[in-house]
């Protein structure tokens, strides 16, 4: 009797928790999208932002967000994946490994504003990069690297050890086993982790305030020479991203339609983060099925 009641109670508590989470998410998404989407149109997405007048767009900010994301990923994915492989497969248990693992954990729990300050000191000033895409991407790498290391290590460790034994027992070297058995099996997990972290990077503001800067020049999308100061590809120019733009418009904006701009930007930001999350799941499953040969 008592056990049955406890059992029922536990079920109710879990369902309740799940319900609270989903309702919060749906409410939040609904609120942001309903208040923002009405302002989002082609014109909003493709025109320059304005500082005083009505009708500013987010073209450059959107581009900057993507560009910083790509540069961050170029820095952090190879380093993070290799680091994760090292920790999962090569690191011998001992002091050094513990130090590395603890460092990775500490790095991933640093507040992003602190990472931003660190970036300001090291990349912007000491390395002389100034407020730039590259400084922003480096700061985001500091913040993203531990996540990718962690995801890679966890995905590799989740593979049953019998898979590794199977390959080693066939007279295959450790490295070839890592390359052809372990990494492919871990790939869907790694990719999902990378895409989810991309969502986080895309939405990050605090770490970029002091590194990528608060302003962006009106870009000339006809100039693709990366050394031209108006080129969208120039990695040494300051670049305000979408989330930084939302923060700036909300806190310092003086244009009459600032609510609309902030809400519209928030809606666009949320949609892209959602796309990253959904793609992570879909592509992860697709690749898993392709590798395993099941449909």
């Amino acid at each position: 009797m008592n056990r049955r009641i406890t059992n029922k109670l536990a079920t109710i508590v879990f369902v309740l928790c799940a319900a609270i989470m989903s309702i919060t998410l749906v409410y939040l998404l609904g609120y942001i999208l309903t208040s923002g989407l009405s302002y989002v149109d082609m014109d909003f997405l493709t025109s320059n932002s304005s500082s005083f007048q009505e009708g500013g767009g987010i073209k450059n900010q959107l581009w900057n967000s993507f560009y910083i994301l790509v540069v961050t990923m170029i820095f952090s994915v190879p380093l993070g994946v290799l680091g994760g492989i090292y920790l999962a497969e090569y690191a011998k248990p001992g002091k050094l490994t513990n130090v590395i693992r603890t460092s990775v954990e500490v790095l991933s729990s640093l507040p992003s504003i602190v990472v931003g300050m660190f970036g300001l000191l090291v990349f912007v000033q000491y390395a002389g990069l100034g407020y730039s895409i590259i400084a922003g991407a480096l700061a985001l790498t500091v913040f993203n690297l531990p996540i990718i290391v962690r995801v890679t290590e966890d995905s590799l460790r989740a593979i049953p050890v019998k898979q590794k034994n199977a390959s080693l027992a066939l007279g295959i070297t450790h490295w070839h086993t890592v390359k052809t058995v372990l990494v492919p099996a871990a790939f869907p997990g790694i990719l999902t982790g990378v895409l989810l972290s991309a969502g986080r990077v895309f939405g990050e503001a605090a770490a970029l305030l002091f590194t990528a800067g608060l302003s962006t020049r009106n870009l000339d999308f006809g100039t693709w020479d990366p050394f031209d100061s108006t080129s969208p590809l120039n990695p040494f120019r300051s670049a305000e991203t979408l989330s930084v733009h939302i923060w700036k418009v909300n806190s310092q904006g003086i244009m009459p339609d600032l609510d609309a701009i902030a809400n519209g930007s928030a809606a666009v930001l949320i949609i892209f983060v959602l796309i990253f999350n959904v793609t992570a799941r879909v592509i992860g499953n697709m690749i898993f099925n392709k590798i395993t040969g099941s449909k």
Partner: protein, 270 residues
């Protein structure tokens, strides 16, 4: 049942062979330690060519450890260490400078739980061949031959591209045997290969083992004494890391020399 009878009938013939055969592997004063734990203690025994040698004994007696020492899979465990000799072709397999990659090509292994790669059936076989640098056109033949040898070709020939995970447990285990055979090993180490299988699949794998011993030297660890009696030529009984008794299978089962062997095979402890 049939098999036991068959074994009995051919026994005199087998014996005459036994005298002439030189062991392919000779274990000599072999000890394996896991840290402080002395898991295998001073084991000496021959493993004869083209025979099935069974390791039996209760759980934790060191029989799997002993098996995994022969192809150095215990190297995976950082605290494992060896003493003694395993002589093979004039080499001591426990020597530090032995190329374990080359060793494992000659001494293949099949595990307790079927462990095909989560890849198409064919790629399970070609995985190691690709690593060895075999040409694509030569692979087709090896794939077919090894699947035939493992008596699974007829069941999979029409779906070589579907996932190995879609096979039943017994089929997966025979695929794993085929995968090991594709490398043309001389010795096959089988670590309780049927303990995760249903009786019908087990019988198929047993038949296969008897067939395979014509061309390969087989060492099998088993929990199942009937299985050891049915398929092996020689049996080693281990207890607590010691090799209690080693000998001809029918002799060991019908007329054991040691009290502990007798108690174990008569089911007094397990």
């Amino acid at each position: 049942m049939d098999m036991v009878e068959n074994n009995m009938k051919t026994k005199p013939l087998d014996k005459s062979k036994e005298i002439n055969s030189v062991p392919l592997l000779q274990l000599d004063e072999l000890s394996v330690y896991y840290g402080e734990n002395h898991a295998v203690k001073n084991v000496s025994m021959p493993i004869e060519e083209n025979k099935v040698t069974a390791f039996i004994g209760p759980s934790g007696c060191g029989k799997s450890t002993l098996l995994r020492t022969i192809n150095r899979m215990n190297d995976q465990i950082s605290i494992a260490r060896y003493e003694g000799n395993i002589e093979y072709e004039g080499l001591n397999l426990l020597e530090k400078n032995i190329d374990v990659v080359a060793l494992r090509k000659e001494i293949g292994m099949v595990f307790q739980e079927p462990n095909p790669f989560p890849k198409p059936i064919k790629e399970n076989i070609t995985h190691a061949l690709k690593f060895m640098g075999m040409k694509k056109k030569d692979m087709e033949e090896v794939v077919e031959n090894s699947l035939k040898q493992a008596a699974i070709w007829d069941e999979v020939k029409d779906r070589l591209k579907s996932s190995a995970l879609s096979l039943s447990g017994g089929q997966q285990q025979r695929l794993c045997i085929a995968r090991a055979l594709a490398l043309k090993p001389r010795v096959l180490l089988l670590d309780e290969p049927t303990s995760a299988l249903d009786p019908i699949s087990s019988a198929k794998v047993e038949d296969l083992i008897i067939e395979l011993k014509k061309h390969y030297t087989i060492v099998i660890v088993t929990h199942n004494m009937e299985q050891a009696a049915r398929i092996s030529d020689n049996t080693a009984f281990m207890y607590n890391g010691d090799l209690v008794e080693f000998g001809n299978t029918s002799q060991l089962f019908t007329n054991p020399k040691e009290k502990r062997t007798e108690d174990y095979i008569s089911g007094k402890f397990s």
